[in-house]
């Protein structure tokens, strides 16, 4: 079963190339490429799993998150130092990608986000830490987490991969993933970045 994916990208010249990228991958079923978020929402996709969203449309992220609660979202940006990237991440985007990345990087990013294997560049991580206090976060105390979950959250914040955490804690990758899912649920977040935000906000 292919992953169902859609794209919101105002640059229509880019549309055919995006469609071909997914077609050639053999792993993704691109259900539509839209110029605006409202066009996407009008299409009423019910089984969408992943959305690539141009940064110019990122102001609509809260609405999209509300309308498409089970869809993971990646932001396409011209520059990683765009202030809006941080806001997009704080608003629930799972990660971001440079518009000029090559198709292999796009496809890898999509797979990683779908597998909850999310890595943020050092540059962005630093910006998240610096800017963190400016974001409005519904505080959930870290005490709700078990000792093991707290430990895993700390490792997440250090940028460790699942396999690295598994090796460090002498548990399986599956167990690490299960702990992460529990952490996200308890902290009411959707991804690693949001969980890390909460971790630092609570320090």
């Amino acid at each position: 079963m292919h992953t169902r994916i859609a794209v919101v990208e105002p640059d229509i010249v880019f549309h055919p190339a995006l469609i071909l990228m997914f077609q050639y991958s053999g792993r993704f079923d691109c259900v539509g490429v839209y110029e605006t978020s409202s066009a996407l929402l009008s299409a009423q996709h019910t089984t969408l799993q992943l959305l690539l969203l141009n940064i110019d449309e990122s102001a609509n992220l809260p609405l999209l998150r509300k309308q498409l609660p089970n869809v993971k979202m990646i932001v396409i940006t011209q520059r990683s130092n765009d202030e809006r990237v941080l806001h997009a991440l704080a608003s629930g985007a799972a990660n971001f990608i440079a518009k000029g990345a090559d198709p292999a990087q796009y496809l890898q990013m999509c797979s990683d986000v779908l597998n909850n294997n999310i890595r943020v560049s050092g540059d962005i991580a630093r910006q998240i830490l610096v800017k963190n206090k400016n974001f409005e976060i519904n505080e959930v105390p870290l005490e709700v987490l078990s000792a093991r979950e707290n430990e895993i959250l700390r490792l997440l914040a250090e940028g460790k991969l699942y396999k690295e955490m598994a090796r460090h804690l002498l548990i399986s990758i599956e167990t690490v993933k299960r702990h992460c899912t529990n952490i996200y649920q308890k902290l009411q977040v959707n991804n690693r970045t949001e969980a890390i935000n909460k971790f630092f906000a609570n320090r």
């Binding site: 880019f14 071909l20 077609q23 050639y24 518009k99 198709p103």
Partner: protein, 373 residues
């Protein structure tokens, strides 16, 4: 208990049904083939090797129709049946056939990790127990996997040695269609290793054999290799002659893929003649066809399109073709051209169209100099 005559008649009837199902598969009557196989499988007196073989053929009837999930299910049933048997030579022969047939849906559905594992697993068994025909099938599988892994460009020497082994085995078996096919593919592989003379020699060998045994697909392939070899050498006249010959042959045989391959050669010829309208028409027609069937060989028209859109100063459009050429499932380009294309796409992503243009111009110049345009 049936007497001998009755037994012979039952077996003859079975053999007739099985042959009919084989013919039905080869003629594309898959539903009918499956009905015949189902009927055969209902016979309770069948022994386990027969059941496994019929289940495998059921898998083939689905796989030939690209119903891969169903085909994999049937193959798995056949594996389970085989596992109930004590190991003997008959078991191994069927196991090899099953593995070889199983590889097709894996290849076609991009399940390459499983395919590579299967190739490794089957190798020692093929070497010790396989027939020459099974070895040919196996080597074809390995050869195709090499092409895929190296993305049809600059494949290593091993690829050549595998296809040469196929030629030798086909000669021993007097299997002329396979020998012709292998010479044609050898020409293709040498061409994409930039070994132009060897490519033409291999195609000549295929043409020689085809004087006695017609093989339209390989004729189209070899005509195309000749046309492309002259394009690589920047000999426009010969390239055009071979491309038109190839197009005429492919059109007669309704082989659109080779028609479009050769349209890219005509596009290049038109470009050299500064007939940009015709060049663009041919290149776009090929690109649209290739992408519609997910053919990986996009650089043969993509670089031309980049050039044509640069000439019209449509940088963003040119960048789109550049972006697609970087796809990991398309044919590779020479490394220095790829790096320039990558850089261009990065600049385009940042909205810097002047640097995008400069990088793409350099990529096109380099491609033109080296015959890759």
């Amino acid at each position: 208990m049936p007497d001998m005559t009755q037994k012979n008649s039952i077996e003859l009837n079975r053999a007739a049904l099985e042959t009919s199902s084989d013919v039905a598969i080869s003629e594309g009557r898959f539903e009918q083939a499956r009905d015949l196989l189902k009927e055969l499988l209902e016979d309770e007196s069948l022994n386990l090797p027969d059941i496994a073989r019929l289940q495998r053929k059921m898998g083939n009837a689905y796989a030939s129709q690209w119903a891969f999930e169903e085909s994999l299910y049937s193959y798995e049933q056949a594996f389970k049946t085989l596992q109930q048997l004590p190991e003997n030579n008959e078991w191994w022969q069927e196991w090899i056939e099953l593995q070889l047939d199983y590889s097709f849906p894996l290849h076609t559905t991009n399940r390459f990790d499983e395919l590579v594992r299967l190739i490794q697993e089957i190798k020692p068994v093929i070497e010790s127990k396989g027939s020459n025909q099974q070895k040919i099938k196996y080597l074809k599988l390995v050869f195709m996997d090499f092409l895929r892994r190296y993305r049809w460009f600059m494949c290593p020497e091993e690829t050549i040695s595998h296809i040469r082994m196929i030629i030798q085995l086909a000669k021993t078996e007097k299997d002329h269609p396979t020998e012709i096919w292998a010479w044609g593919l050898l020409g293709f592989t040498h061409f994409w290793r930039n070994e132009i003379k060897l490519a033409r020699d291999a195609c000549e060998a295929a043409f020689e054999l085809m004087k006695h045994t017609a093989y339209d697909e390989v004729t189209a392939m070899c005509n195309t290799t000749f046309a492309f070899s002259y394009r690589r050498e920047k000999k426009a006249e010969q390239a055009e002659v071979w491309a038109r010959k190839a197009i005429a042959h492919a059109a007669r045989n309704n082989n659109q893929t080779y028609e479009k391959f050769n349209e890219t050669v005509l596009a290049w010829v038109y470009l050299k003649q500064k007939n940009f309208t015709e060049a663009e028409r041919c290149a776009i027609s090929a690109y649209d066809f290739f992408t519609s069937i997910k053919l990986p060989h996009l650089p043969v028209c993509g670089l031309l399109l980049i050039h044509l859109f640069l000439l019209k100063n449509k940088i963003a459009e040119a960048a789109q073709y550049a972006f697609v050429l970087l796809h990991p499932e398309t044919q590779r380009m020479p490394e220095d051209i790829t790096l320039l294309v990558k850089e261009a796409v990065a600049f385009w992503g940042e909205g810097d169209l002047e640097n995008t243009r400069q990088c793409l111009c350099k990529a096109v110049e380099l491609a033109d100099e080296t015959g890759y345009l």
